[in-house]
Symmetry: C2
Subunit: 364 residues, 2 copies
């Protein structure tokens, strides 16, 4: 009697994994000018580079501190919270993964305003959870939080503020009201881009209200305003007992020893950070004027990027820019396909972007 | 009417997360001689340190390659497989997490011989899966694979070879038979310590049989024989279609840009690796003789550590060694509590360990 045919290991994958598409990160093409994934425009702090040069072979040889104590203390000092209210992640993607794994059983619901960061959807699929997308409300050049967001029977409500890809900001008062209205949910505010809003002089962060809302989780990243996307450093802020529970969910040694050290150096160099963020905000203002002069429209930007309407020509302009050596972000999704997301780069890069767009739009 | 009291966010945690204990990694105490977490005894390759010194600020600023192409190519060249058969992880803990998340729905079963690496259990709890522990069979100074292991209706069968904490090795022929017997399961062989067995001249790795067994997954780490525990680098080897599916499950940018570069340098410096592993194996042989002369017994060691029987005095000796500045590993679990796991260190560290044990055992 012949053996029964063996299952392919692919047949053993969880159904949710088999069914889901892969998340597509932005292209990483080294020889193009990258204005597609919202990295900071400046090099990391000189203190970061000095710290990197001083990493000892012995610290590479040994396991890192599993709970990143020095990094969490530096973050606590920098942001005015207790170290026990901080969890360090291998990028804020890791922090998001930890949250989804901690709260969402298969079939549970996670809600977010839409459009937003596509990874929120991918992570829901991975967990077998249902993502409920509640459309933002248009309000001139801003987007408002939909009031139904609090009423989706979701265990997790997640939103990026400033939002990605729209670069719009929801006022802190609205977010505080959401925390109150959705007291039976955990409200996650992903502040990856908030530093560029704060530098514009706006009250934009929920961190000062961490103690006021026990159901609030705030995420920060060092990938943008600290120019450390390559090092993978995210920070999660929440009530201390929640952080303690989340530590059970993270990988034992989730942040490597080098990134822990670089993160401390970056957080401590406040002056350099201020200078970089101020320059980026100034360049954003310059881009706003130049793009408006080209007749382009976009929501009021608060991150280090602009989300610009190009109508039917968006994909074509994306491809033309790429041929010119400028990589920006375009998505094929119906709600996004007429727009391009443009990262604010260095002054010379922004000049090239403006020239290239002028060329395209004048049909030359 | 008063508001109904809000749920605590802790009440929203998945029941499996609330119920599970935290995984306890080995203590990381910088000012003790660490012989407790099986790091390599030597510094990383000088090429690794040169690569670290050459990391450019621009590579820190930008996102890393999401799929670690150069690192996977270096691993493919080093281990004689195709790059498409390799997945890079943030430590092999990350590779394990990816496997558990890919295959195990709540209620699914994962089986492993016992005792073994405690994280296999923690990861099952995180996933809401059931870990089935099948005791190893004693066979003189070796441990044999229990034949029932293949018959546990498990989707995943996982074993460390050499095993941790016992340092014992199961022959490749037994593992190949397991892959055949359990064709409806994925068999994961965690070869974190295999380099120390291979250096002893034993056929110990399943990597040459990757193409023969579609249900086989092999894990390697750079934390031990490459002395890069601080950098977090793990490698997963499997059939190319399975690797492609697992890439959907990993975090988008799971390995940072620095570790990707260090991993390439470490894998390419074959001569340095050979020298380090040979010295460790020689020191292991010296420790074996010295411990036997003290009347101590232990299974035949094949990793860079020994699992030594101390009877009722194990905890007491662990504490006495710690007072002497030597940190080794002791577990309170009933099946482990009479034993200590001793990492093979540098020659001077091993000398100190032998002296300290002699002092304890002679009751001085």
């Amino acid at each position: 009697m012949p053996d029964k045919p063996a299952l392919s290991p692919l047949d053993l994958l969880r159904p949710t994994i088999r069914a889901m598409p892969a998340y597509t990160p932005g292209e990483q093409i080294a020889d193009l000018t990258k204005l597609n994934t919202n990295e900071g425009a400046h090099p990391p702090s000189p203190r970061v580079m000095a710290t990197l040069a001083a990493i000892a072979d012995e610290s590479l040889r040994l396991y890192p501190d599993p709970v990143s104590r020095k990094l969490r203390s530096a973050a606590a000092a920098r942001f005015g919270v207790a170290a026990q209210q901080v969890l360090a992640g291998n990028g804020s993607d890791d922090c998001l993964t930890i949250l989804y794994r901690a709260f969402l059983d298969p079939g549970d619901r996670v809600a977010c305003p839409w459009p937003t960061y596509g990874l929120y959807d991918t992570l829901a699929s991975l967990q077998g959870a249902t993502l409920v997308r509640v459309p933002f409300l248009a309000d001139g050049r801003r987007l408002r939080l939909p009031p139904e967001l609090a009423r989706q029977r979701a265990k997790l409500i997640i939103l990026a503020n400033p939002n990605n890809p729209t670069s719009t900001l929801v006022p802190v008062a609205e977010l505080r009201a959401l925390c109150e209205d959705a007291r039976d949910a955990v409200v996650v505010v992903d502040e990856a881009y908030v530093d560029f809003a704060l530098a514009g002089g706006v009250e934009a962060s929920m961190l000062p209200f961490l103690d006021a809302h026990p159901n609030l989780v705030v995420l920060r990243t060092l990938s943008k305003s600290y120019s450390l996307a390559g090092a993978r450093l995210g920070l999660l802020f929440a009530a201390a007992p929640l952080v303690e529970a989340l530590i059970k969910v993270k990988d034992s040694y989730n942040v490597n020893v080098i990134s822990q050290a670089l993160g401390v150096a970056a957080l401590e160099d406040r002056a350099y950070y201020d200078r970089c963020v101020r320059q980026t905000v100034a360049e954003r203002a310059r881009l706003e004027v130049a793009l408006a002069q080209l007749g382009l429209t976009f929501p009021e930007p608060t991150g280090n990027f602009l989300f610009v309407e190009f109508g039917d020509r968006a994909q074509q302009i994306y491809e033309a820019l790429k041929r010119d050596g400028l990589l920006v972000r375009w998505w094929a999704a119906p709600e996004l396909r007429t727009k391009l997301r443009l990262t604010v780069g260095k002054p010379a890069e922004n000049d090239r972007l403006i020239s290239a767009l002028r060329k395209q739009l004048s049909g030359l």
